[in-house]
Amino acid sequence: MEIMLQIEKLSYGTPTGRPLVKDVSFNVSNGDIAVIKGPNGIGKSTFLKIVSGFHKQLNGRIKNFSGPEKMVFFPQISGGEFHIDLTILDVLKISLGRRFDTAMILDFGLLNKGHFSRSWNTASGGEKQRTLLTRVFLQDSNVLVLDEPMNHLDKETRLQVKKKILDYVNNTGQQKVRRAVILVTHESFESTDLKRGNLINVDLGQFKYRRRSQVTSKIATELT
């Protein structure tokens, strides 16, 4: 298995400098799904921002072997409305650029033709989430970093997205490229058809600052 992302002794804190988590270390390899867990306030979203290069850590190193341009970060939506009244199709048109292809979008399956003419500003949370997930998955990427991708989605769509994540790392219907996903979610990937050993559960609570660092069994095996 080829390592795609190496996180070594990573420590980070709040914007005011209060340390939250200390010495997180693990590797993400081709085909892996790393599920980040932990109690509220431990900084799961901050962790993803650091991994994506949008936030600075206090200590430690992150090596991204795919290059920053091949890593796509999907954050939680902080503001809902946009000053210009865009349609959902507009959002995909401007964000996918040359990769924009309505047939490909429909084929992906999270949106149908009826969604295209809807206004972004009046779309439901679920419709916005579907649009942004379509945008993320249709980018040319090797590593997806997803922050609560199942938010606002109904049960059926959550299952659909879960399948998309599995298809992504398993390269279903694509030419063989190395791929991995790191995500924060409350969904479980335990009983999926993910290849054995490709699921990494990282509990940030165990790396809490001033506590002895512990690692999950998979990480411990990798590091030894």
């Binding site: 949008f54 210009i84 009244d85």
Partner: protein, 288 residues
């Protein structure tokens, strides 16, 4: 005896160029509003006006020429617009208070600085009113050509890369940063530099009121109408800004009494709703 048509024929170049500048400012303003940077733009515009006044004050001690009356104020505008931007960014990032509170406080400070500058440099008294309210009829031809080149260059840049800039505006508005979703990204400094250059040269030549009016009024009215579509928004704000400038400026010249910029702003306001409503249904500005 005052002849309206003769006056109009003397100012045709200024009227045409002002209309082009207004269109360019309106497209830029659309992105600034979309990025929730309207109040910060007001501060930066006021900061650049302070720079213009300081440069004119210092220039007053030297022999009056194109350098002291146009180039020096432009440099002053650019320097102080940058300083204002950096300071405001620092305070916003620090989150000492709400973003708009911090920016309005900076704006108030800058207004008083402008007033102080006009007291310190006696030659600035007339400049202060002119740079605030603007007087498009008194702009020198050299300045008109300079601003035409800059505004056409910025307009071409914004229109040629309209999808990339719109994507950047969308991501900044929703996620607070651009470039998170991968894909082709345009360097964010390109937008920043081009907006600074256009705002500074517009404040210097056309004044504070014209600049802020053309930047924010068309996109605000378009936002109220809520006509759907991104390209339509681009074209509609540009048409409203340039047509209102053309009509307002012409009316002001023909009347001989009406001030240029307030007349333009008035026309922009009263024409805004019907014109943009009409354009929202027009196949002429169909989506591309």
């Amino acid at each position: 005896m005052y002849s309206p048509l003769q006056a109009l024929s003397s100012y045709w170049l200024a009227i045409l160029i002002s209309s082009v500048v207004a269109a360019s400012l309106a497209i830029l303003g659309m992105h600034l509003a979309a990025r929730d940077r309207s109040v910060q733009t007001l501060c930066v515009t006021q900061g650049s006006m302070f720079g213009v006044l300081i440069a004119l004050g210092i220039g007053g001690y030297f022999h009056e020429n194109f350098f002291t009356t146009s180039i020096m104020p432009l440099i002053g505008a650019f320097v102080f617009a940058n300083v204002t931007y950096k300071i405001s960014e620092k305070f916003i990032a620090g989150k000492l208070a709400s973003k708009n509170t911090v920016l309005v406080a900076i704006f108030a400070i800058l207004i008083s600085f402008c007033q102080l500058a006009s007291a310190l440099f006696p030659s600035l008294e007339s400049h202060m009113t002119q740079k605030f309210f603007g007087d498009l009829a008194t702009i020198a031809n050299k300045e008109l050509i300079l601003i035409l080149i800059v505004s056409v260059a910025v307009a071409v840049l914004l229109i040629k890369n309209w999808k990339d800039f719109s994507c950047e505006s969308f991501d900044l508005a929703l996620f607070g940063r651009a470039g998170i979703f991968g894909g082709r990204q345009i360097d964010p400094r390109i937008f920043q530099i081009s907006s600074f250059v256009l705002i500074c040269i517009s404040v210097q030549a056309m004044g504070f009121l014209f600049t802020t009016g053309a930047l924010l009024i068309p996109t605000t009215i378009q936002g109220v109408i809520r006509s759907r579509g991104l390209w339509r928004h681009h074209v509609s704000v540009a048409i409203l800004a340039s047509s209102a400038t053309f009509i307002g400026f012409s009316l002001s010249i023909m009347s001989g009494k009406l001030p240029t910029v307030p007349t333009i702003i008035f026309i922009m306001t009263i024409l805004g709703y019907p014109v943009l409503r009409l354009l929202s249904r027009s196949p002429l500005v169909a989506e591309v």
